[in-house]
Amino acid sequence: MLEIKNLHVKLADEDKAIIKGLTLTVPKGEVHAIMGPNGSGKSTLAYVLAGRADYEVTNGDILWNGESIIEMEPDERAAKGVFLAFQYPMEIPGVAGLTFLRTATNSVRKKRGQTELTTPEFLKVVKDRASKLNIDFDMLKRPVNVGFSGGEKKRSEILQMAMLEPSLCVLDETDSGLDIDALKVVSDGVNALRSPDRAMLVITHYQRLLNHIVPDKVHVLAEGRIQKTGGKELALELEQSGYAEFQGKAA
C-alpha cells in the first residue's frame, strides 16, 4: 500500500513550494488516476516518489508497504519495487538499450535476493516482452532512447517496467505523444501488469487513457493538493467541465 501523508515539497535549491499538503492512499491491486491542469505538480509528485534530488520534502511522509521511503536513494526505491515511467524519457548516448536493460534488471534482481538472469535467459525474456509491446528488437541495440520517436520512448518505458517487475508503478503522462494504435499497445502492456500485488498511479492530463486503463479511483490534483476524489466517472466529468473550479483557490 502506498500512503502519502500531508506531503509538502519544494524545489531543492529554491524556496518554491510545489506540493502543499497532499494526502493519498493507493492499496495494492488498485489503479488510481491523478488528473490535473498543467503545472499543478503531477510530475513533481512522480519524481518525489522516485527520489529525484531536485526536490526536497519539507513536511509529511511517503510510506510504501509501511516503510518510509523519503530518505532512500532512487536505486534503493527501485529495488523496493518503485517504478516511474517518465513523462520525458531521457536519451543516453553511448549506452546500448540492451546493456541498460540487463544492468537494471539484474541490479534489482540482486537487491531483491533473486538470481541474476544469464545472457540467454535475459535475451529470451526481453524478446518476448518487447514483441508484446511492438518494439523492434533491433531498436534495443541502439543507445537508450536516442533518435526514438515520442511513441517509441513511451513504449520503451513500459518495456523497462515489464522487465523490472515493480510493485508500485507510477506512470507520468504515458499517453502524451501517442497515436491511438500506440495508446492501445501501451495500455495493453500496462493492463497486463495489473495484479493484486501491484499498486498503480496513472498520471494523465486527458481522460482518453482511462478508457483503456480503467482506474478504481480518480483524484484531482491542483495547486499542489488533492482537490477531489471520485470513481472513474469523475474523469468524464472533468473532460466536460475542465479544471477551472479547482484553480485560483487559496492554498
Binding site: P74, F83, F86, F100, A104, S107, Q160
Partner: protein
Amino acid sequence: MNVAVMKTKFEQSLTEQFNHVSARLPGGAAVGVARKAALGRFSALGLPNRRIEEWKYTDLRNALKEPLAVAVDDDTKVTVADLIVALGPLAHLEGPRIVFVNGGWRRELSNLEGAEGIEVAALGATLTAAQDKIGEALAGTTGPDNDAVLALNTAYMTDGAVVRVGDGVEVGKPLLLVFMRAGNEGRFVATRNVVSIGKGAAATIVEAFIGLPGSTAEGQHNSATEILVGDNARVTHVKIAADTGKATHLSNWMVGLGAETVYRGFQLNQGLGLARNQIFATYHGEGAKLDLSGLFLGRGTEHIDTTLVVDHAVPRCESRELYKGVLDGEARGIFQGKVIVRPDAQKTDGKQMAQVLMLSPDAEFDSKPELEIYADDVVCGHGSTAAELDTDLLFYLRARGIPLDTARSMLIESFVGEALDRIEHEGVREVVLEFARGWLANLGR
C-alpha cells in the same frame, strides 16, 4: 656560451651521467657522434619550462626535480609469469611481441613467432651490427631539433624496436611492443622505435608502457617512435601507457605519411604521475588521412599532457583529432592541438575535438587549439568541452535500480566510447576498454 639559467639538479645529473654510461650505449662511431650532439643540445636547451610557449602548462624543469640513474645493461630479473601479470588485459592479445625491461631487450620474454611479413629487430643489436648506417639515419631524424626531450632520447636510447613491413604486405595480427618498468629502484629509461611501413601495406602496432606490480612506483621513461608510412598503406598505431600513478612518461611520435595513406593513432594514458605525449605528424603525399584519438584518465595529482602538431604540407589531406579525458581529484589534463596548413595545402580538411569529463571540482583542464592556416581553400574546425556527469541521466539510471557506482561507470564509459571506437582493431579496442574499466573500478567517490 651565454647560459643564463643555472642548471637544475636533474639537468646537471643527466648531462654528467653521459660520461659514465656512453661507452656502454649501443652503436658505432656515427651513432656516438649523434648522441654527443644530442646531449649538447639538451645541455644547451635545458629542460623545457613554462617560458617556452609549447610547454607553458607542463613545466618539466619544475616538475622533474629528482634525477634517476640512467638504465644501461639492466639485468633486473623478470620471468614470463611476471610479464603476464604486468601485461594485464594485454596478455590475451594475440600476436607477436617484443619485450623490453628497463630499456633492454629481453629475448626470452619476446615471441616473434607468427610475425609473418613483418621484420622485427631490437634497436640495440641493430645499432651495434649495422654500425654507422643507422647512425646517419638517426642524425637526420624527423623530429624537431629544438626538443630537449627528444634530444635526451637520442643521447641515451638503449633499445627499442626496429620494425619493417614490406610493400603490399598485410599483417593481420597486431605487433605488440612492450616496455616494462621493473625493480626496486627507479630508473631513467630511454627507448626508441623506428618503424617503416611499405607501400600498400597494412599493419597494427601497439606500444605498451607498463609497470611490474611490486616494483617501485618511481620511474622516468623517455620514449620516441619514428614511423614512416608508405603510399597507400593503412596503419593502426596504438599506445597504452598504464602505470600505477607515480611514474613519468615522456613520449614523442614522429609520423610521416605518404600519399593516400590511412593512419590511425590512438593513445591511452592512465596511472601516470606526469605525462607529456607529443605527436608530430607530417604529410608527404596527397590524399592521406590522419586520425588521431586518445583517452586520458587522471586522478590524484596526476598531470597528463597531449600536444599535437599536424603539418599539412601538401594538398588534399584530411586530419581528425578526437581526445577524451576523465579527470578526478586534483588531476590536470592538457590538450594542445596545432594544425598547420601550408600555402600549397589546398583542400585540406581538418577537424579537432577535445572533451573532458570533470569528476571533481578540483580537477583542471587546459585546452589550446591552434590553427595556422596559410591556404585559402580549406575546411578546418576545432572545439573543446569540459563537463560534469549529467545528474539527470544519473537519476534516470538509478531510478531503474542501477547503483550509483555502476551508473557513473556506465555514463563515463559511454562518454569515452566515441574515442575508443576510433580503434579499428577489435581485439586492441577491447584491451584498451579493459584497462579503462580497471581505472574506473577504482574511482574514489
